[in-house]
Point group: C2
Chain length 628, copies 2
């Protein structure tokens, strides 16, 4: 059951698609006082949800903030990352879900200040609150999901494995990567184009020296079973003569400052402007620009920098320079030095800048700061609507920033993580939260985006990620090569990625069913075994679809781990490409998982396809069944 | 057995105290070629050592660099932290220790580039190499330790619990903290003074407004059983009229630039100079300055910023300002912006600066860069020698930067960590490496230095740290209060800290025996159970002294964990101050450890003292025995 409480919302976020009558009672079980929602937690209460936020499956014990942020350091203390996913599921003596539909900042203190008190503080008290009850954790999630509408389902080929690197600059770089995968006989469905394919980072342009004929190259790759998936950044270079800028400027499609001038920010292309995705005309105008790339045979995109990320604003930069130039370096003490340095560091994603520009929405002019968390969602929506119209079917589409609602238009990846062992577990723990909020096509950058990957890290990460719908290996400029062929001895990678393809019939069906039934593809164990007190504490295993359970190894030099079985299951082991099974009883097991083996569990027989070089070559009718 | 190989060392680092005849053979089992030592690793080889370096007890699979670094972000990818501890213990088909005695940079690639190859690269090929063999892992460590001399043993009161905070500014702040501990009846032996006690961050001065009579205040605190432990930073403020500066400048006791002028760097006091601790006269001169504080009743110190940390140099800062002032902000693109910002960020601890100053050593003038890793060690030695002379007995002394050799003069703490759950485990994993290298009096900042601590994090951290000889709660300026009384409900903290005091008879005897016998106080399980293949993989338990084993909980919201017993042991549980025991068989156990309980293991009966308010009040004769 859903109850809706309304507190002067000033804009329709678009998250909710179902009419819910207003409740006039108190928003129980919260106490509401002075614009703050609070709740006493009993000792055993656990809290799930909050989308891609980090720090465990059970969120109790930390403070979170919804504020879409371009932050590449996903360390434990972070309160916000790229997404704003304001759904929580409280599981204590009281059991209920709560969705705070608010386009601006909101803080969730879940036992941080006081161990047994929840304090939820919307910065501006203008929101809708939905309280959702149901017979089980799963039922509450499904009820919430019917409220926010069906999740995005990608084309089936998007279940393939893909390779990306910020650093592939030319057609030749991309072709070399495709060849290396082919030579190693490792399946591959997608190659992603990071920012260097563009002409001076201008959206919807192609650098003609690097890609003289992108259409022909795209066709060549597709012939080989590989799709090119370019990046689109949110901001548009401010450059007279660049038609996207000229058009948008002329039509008033960019966000404006207080004086009504285009608000100018520094991002990859240098001085740029921000399309006003909250303006329906601007949104449609921008979306239709993707046609320039679909006309070249492109069938999928990733939308990036759409928190929106701001390196600096023209205004902020000028102020900072002024401050620096007035300083006398001879008399600088340590604190002044750090002050100057931090002035430059703080230019990035500055709150003042987010307060300095405006959107033209159907509800009128609104300050960006008050609707900040909708920006990435509305960019994805812009692309999704246009691409569906252009293609007649959904594209492959995923985004860095998001708000609930965006789950109907695309997937998300978890952004610019690191080549850290802890980020394998972190990304596993992000998945159920994302799934609760409807983001089913999701995954993390395998091997880690920032930092240098090692062979063993890549193997272990991939052994988990082969179960994530979005399975992409992606690395940053200047980092060590981390393609599946980069560490020599490619057989181990071939076996793991082949296993992914063999599982696609099950995984895609699971994803499709989760979409159709408003269910989760990844679930914490406790969602399936509500009365199992141990299952409720397991933070490093997940249920996948209706019958699988995964329990990856995520520690350097570990060759075994403890695995909890809430009921008897069949253990499936892939060793050097061969599958073997073993029946295990319920309870704890200390299971040997040598590097390169993949071990997972099934509750009932599982169909496995034959390996294929890409999704198009998969034969769904020619499967073998393992497990009992 | 120890073999010594000498490759043109240009300075005696002071690490080794025993004469070892030169070996003329090849430095087996390493291959030496082009100044690089390499070794093939068999599949099962594990590598221990490298002192305080992070990333697991088994170091295999990453690349490390010895370069004493003031780096407050102890994330997985870091290759260096504050210490340079070049001892490794290889445990494969070949089993041996190796100590690379080199005062400058050296890189240890332990399977990072190639999973089964060790590559060790001294930047300048000028070093002594010691290859150590023995009958067991423990025997190899002890053999190495006899080579480097007896470890520092602190006064017994230094085994007490201490509180610190960068942010206690005045006598009143300190007294308030002492009172709060007293009111909560939580034992306390030390209160540390961070940089604000000084007058303008000038070493050996006391701010007379904040501490009008430090001698009287120190006596007042000592009357209450609490000792004040001030910080001493390495750099000396360049300020004419400040006698320490004037004297050192006149005598030529500061590091010089190429032209023979004092090399000027920016650190906390602003423009400063660096005492030349490698010059024996300068070292003695600086050490004797501690008398100003011992005359006020001070009995212990922590030496900090002695990597040495450089915020900037006068030269670097002027260059950076020049670069910035020449830029035209109007035409700045993203990469130029980041360039400017990074120019300022990179001023800190710049390699160029370390190359720009010199020491006057008994072996002649040497460039700092080539002996960088000795600086912190020599500062500790300076203080230790003087303080022993002044006091007639060893002081409490510990340091942030260190090199092997410093272990004879003081302890180390693991520097500026974070309030992250992962840093509980990280600090546990740092302990055995430090112990191998002789650093026995060690510990981490409990609750984390940077970032905001939570109640549960502090409880879990303390439940581990009560076993570390150096037990200090320390937090940075601007962070949330994290004293044991800061989270309300102080009983749980009182019980944990009281348990520490009850264990001091065992812990101090263990520490003393480890010093006397050249043994480790903290050991990985495999050191005691060499044939136990599971013990060899356990990375989150340690042996403490001759009979205890610890297995702390280090995950948010966890109330149980798996614990491996290599043999039957008695489980000791402290629950609300009460001790209970349970006999457990060898093997894995899934043990419930609710927040506030401390669970540990003993192989044989353990004596526990009665709780006391401080070490001075402990009665070593009035103990009870637990376990069987």
């Amino acid at each position: 059951m859903v109850k809706r409480y309304s507190f002067d919302p000033f804009i329709n976020t678009g998250a909710v698609v179902r009419e819910v009558p207003l409740s006039s009672s108190e928003p129980k079980p919260f106490s509401l006082s002075n614009g703050v929602f609070s709740l006493h937690m009993d000792e055993h209460m656990r809290i799930y949800g909050l989308g891609e936020s980090i720090r465990g499956i059970n969120k109790r014990g930390w403070i979170y903030e919804s504020w879409c942020s371009d932050d590449p350091f996903h360390t434990e203390e972070k309160r916000s990352l790229y997404g704003a996913h304001n759904f929580l599921l409280f599981d204590g003596e009281e059991r209920f879900g709560a969705f705070f539909d608010i386009p601006g900042r909101i803080t969730f203190d879940l036992g941080y200040t006081d161990s047994d008190t929840v304090v939820i503080t919307p910065e501006r008290f203008a929101l809708d609150l939905y309280i959702i009850t149901g017979e089980s954790l799963k039922a509450i999630v499904s009820e919430f999901r019917t409220l926010i509408g069906k999740s995005y389902l990608p084309p089936m080929w998007a279940m393939g494995y893909g390779q990306s690197r910020w650093g592939y600059v030319t057609e030749a770089d991309i072709r070399r990567c495709a060849d290396a995968y082919r030579d190693a006989r490792i399946p591959l469905d997608m190659l992603y184009l990071d920012i260097d394919y563009m002409d001076s980072f201008k959206d919807f342009t192609v650098n003609s020296e690097r890609f003289p004929d992108l259409g022909a190259f795209s066709a060549e790759m597709k012939e080989r079973g590989i799709r090119l998936i370019p990046i689109i950044d949110a901001a548009v270079k401010k450059e007279s003569g660049y038609d996207v800028y000229d058009e948008g400027h002329r039509e008033g499609y960019f966000c404006k400052d207080e004086q009504g001038e285009d608000f100018v920010v520094g991002v990859w292309p240098g001085m740029s402007v921000l399309p006003d995705f909250l303006n329906p005309q601007a949104s449609r105008w921008f979306g239709m620009k993707y046609k320039r790339l679909t006309d070249l045979g492109i069938e999928g995109f990733w939308n990036d920098m759409n928190e929106p990320a701001l390196f600096y604003s023209e205004k902020g930069l000028n102020n900072a320079y002024k401050e620096i130039k007035e300083l006398d370096s001879k008399r600088l003490d340590a604190l002044s030095f750090f002050g100057v340095r931090d002035t430059l560091v703080r230019l990035q994603n500055a709150e003042d800048d987010y307060k300095s520009f405006y959107h033209e929405t159907p509800e009128g002019r609104v300050r960006h700061y008050d609707v900040h968390n909708l920006y990435g969602y509305r960019m994805t929506e812009s692309a999704y609507n246009a691409l569906c119209e252009l293609r007649g079917e959904p594209p492959l589409l995923f985004s860095r920033a998001s708000y609930i609602g965006a789950h109907r238009c695309g997937g998300v990846w978890t952004g610019d993580n690191h080549s850290w062992w802890s980020h394998i577990l972190q990304s596993l723990q992000q998945m159920p939260g994302l799934n609760m909020c409807g983001f089913l096509y999701s995954g993390s950058d395998i091997g880690g985006f920032n930092g240098n990957c090692t062979r063993d890290l890549l193997i272990r990460w991939m052994s988990f990620a082969l179960f994530t719908p979005l399975m992409r290996n992606h690395a940053a400029f200047g980092t060590r090569s981390q393609e599946a062929f980069a560490f020599g001895d490619t057989e181990v990678f071939r076996h793991i990625i082949e296993l992914r393809y063999r599982l696609i019939p099950y995984l895609y069906r699971s994803l499709k069913e989760a979409v159709e039934r408003d269910e989760m593809y990844f679930r914490p164990l406790v969602f399936d075994y509500e009365d199992d007190e141990i299952a409720a504490t397991v933070e490093d295993q997940l249920m996948v679809g209706d019958r699988l359970m995964i329990a990856p190894v995520y520690r350097q030099n570990a060759a075994a781990r403890h695995i909890y079985l809430p009921e008897p299951m069949t253990q499936i082991r892939m060793h050097e490409g061969d599958i073997s099974t073993e029946e295990l009883n319920e309870g704890w097991h200390y299971v040997s998982v040598p590097l390169g083996d993949v071990v997972f569990y099934t509750k009932s027989p599982l169909e496995l396809a034959k390996p294929a070089r890409n999704v198009g070559e998969l034969n769904f009718d020619d499967t073998e069944t393992v497990g009992s």
